[in-house]
């Protein structure tokens, strides 16, 4: 009796697995692979869902840091779409002839994320240099934002003071945002979207635009795509006003025209 129940369950399970392997049963649905920057996860999840519902195609999304995604694309020679957190990664693949087309979407700027516990001590960028302030920064070699932060403090003329106040370096922006949100450090230089998504626990101080170049988020069709037409349709969908407003809801800014 128990054996029969188990085998029944097993059959149902095998069936479900088989069904999920063949979503194409409903006509022309195809499966595309999107390699996306880990920081873009929240708007991307929403938009991928919408695209799937509208078209019936499936988008399998893999999130990771841009550098590691590049390694993956080159090593596997697979993937349809690429949407890293910085244009620089697309350009790197473009040089190797691995990109079919590119469509810019939104801008990702850096801000100072200030922990709720430190708002009265840090009111301006210059306050980051005050003695006794505890800062977290991105590792300049491992994180694009770490390099941006370095440029910003050099242009502000406060590199020495800010580095002195830095108590920890992180390897991902989410790690930095977590430290700030929990009050383990007073502030950090992080992406606007990351600060925005934790806005109940931190405030944002803008950084003068003259001190750095905001990142452009773009989506590209890869040469390795087996369904370039669907991939192009996905890019057009992502660049639509409606989709861009979803990015806006998560703290990304429109590109300056």
């Amino acid at each position: 009796m128990r054996n029969r129940t188990i085998s029944c369950c097993a059959l149902v399970w095998v069936f479900t697995v088989l069904l999920s392997l063949f979503p194409a049963a409903n006509g022309f649905a195809e499966e595309l692979i999107l390699l996306a920057g880990a920081g873009l996860r929240r708007p991307t999840d929403v938009l991928v869902d919408r695209f799937e519902q509208q078209t019936g195609h499936r988008i399998l999304t893999a999130y990771d840091g841009g550098g590691r995604l590049i390694t993956r694309i080159q090593a596997s020679g697979q993937g349809d779409l690429f949407m890293p957190g910085a244009l620089f990664h697309i350009e790197a693949l473009e040089k190797k002839g691995l990109i079919r087309s590119v469509r810019p979407l939104v801008a990702h700027t850096a801000v100072v994320g200030v922990s709720a516990a430190a708002v009265d001590r840090i009111r301006s960028f210059e306050d980051l240099a005050r003695p006794g302030i505890r800062l977290a920064l991105g590792d300049p070699q491992a994180m694009a934002l770490g390099r941006t932060a370095r440029t910003i403090m050099q242009r502000a003329g406060l590199e020495k003071e800010i580095l002195q106040n830095t108590v920890v370096y992180g390897a991902t922006v989410k790690q930095l945002a977590l430290y700030v949100a929990r009050g383990d450090v007073d502030a950090s230089i992080i992406g606007r979207a990351d600060a925005f998504q934790c806005r109940d626990r931190m405030t944002m101080i803008p950084i003068p635009p003259a001190w750095f170049q905001p990142e452009t988020i773009a989506v590209a069709v890869l040469q390795s795509s087996r369904h370039p037409d669907i991939a192009e349709a996905f890019c057009a969908f992502m660049a639509s006003e409606e989709s861009l407003s979803v990015f806006g809801e998560f703290g990304f800014l429109p590109l300056e025209k």
Partner: protein
């Protein structure tokens, strides 16, 4: 039958061999040697050694008595406690890291400790704490098993011959359980050396400050410095091989190594 079973064995061996070769083939010996001598790797090696040895020592101090209590005494809730103590072994490293950060953060225990001048957060001490978290359960488990395999009669005999309980433990029980505890300690050390998630979150990824070998591997893979990452990995793997060999010469069964989650 035997031929049928040899095939999977060969496949398995080829898989391991394949991964190791694929990893280290692109690394030329000259570059490896130069990177191994680089200040960054030398720092990471030194920090990994000191933190992991400290963590192993703490784990022994915590784990051996715990194992003894679990082996010799029964009390209500023992099974629950026993399962609970094994949790760190099955936790996803990054989740363990976040949990440790919450515990040792400024708003948690860490705030209290820093008032006494003990800074765990963003210091090498944070790495030690993270390593103890994963290493201590291994010492506890293996010393418990070692004590359980000993008949308490030896201890009774010691006591009837006039030894105080403390001396019985150190002169009779501990020497007899020594081999089991030692092999557990080596495994715990291996685990401490490889600890990553907790170190990343609690100690941070600060180069030349909290950069243990696993952190060096991660930072350098992320920044595309494959040679540095692979050199650090080479040291980690050599240490792993050395520890497995050490275990083998101590006569520990390989099954124990698998059970204890050797990284």
């Amino acid at each position: 039958m035997r031929r049928l079973f040899i095939l999977p064995l060969i496949l398995l061996a080829l898989l391991v061999l394949g991964v190791v070769t694929a990893l280290f083939l692109p690394l030329s010996p000259a570059i490896a040697l130069r990177t191994l001598a680089s200040p960054e790797i030398r720092f990471a090696l030194r920090l990994s050694l000191t933190t992991s040895l400290a963590a192993t020592a703490v784990s022994v101090v915590l784990g051996v008595p715990s194992g003894y209590v679990l082996a010799r005494h029964s009390f209500p809730g023992k099974a629950v406690l026993d399962t609970f103590l094994d949790l760190p072994l099955v936790m996803t490293p990054l989740i363990a890291g976040v949990g440790l950060l919450f515990l040792f953060g400024e708003s948690g225990l860490g705030g209290l400790l820093s008032r006494w001048g003990i800074r765990v957060l963003f210091t090498p001490l944070g790495a030690v704490a993270a390593q103890v978290f994963v290493a201590a359960p291994i010492v506890t488990r293996s010393s418990r098993a070692a004590f359980e395999s000993l008949s308490p009669r030896y201890e009774w005999a010691g006591q009837t011959l006039g030894l105080a309980p403390g001396r019985v433990f150190f002169r009779v029980t501990l020497p007899m359980a020594g081999r089991g505890i030692l092999s557990g300690t080596v495994l715990a050390w291996a685990r401490a050396v490889g600890e990553f998630g907790g170190t990343l979150m609690v100690a941070g990824a600060t180069r030349f400050h909290t950069e243990t070998l696993p952190i060096a591997v991660y930072l350098n893979i992320t920044s595309g410095e494959m040679e540095v990452a692979l050199s650090a990995a080479l040291i980690l793997m050599a240490a792993g091989v050395a520890m497995v060999l050490l275990l083998k010469t101590m006569g520990a069964r390989p099954a124990a190594a698998i059970k204890e989650n050797l990284p």
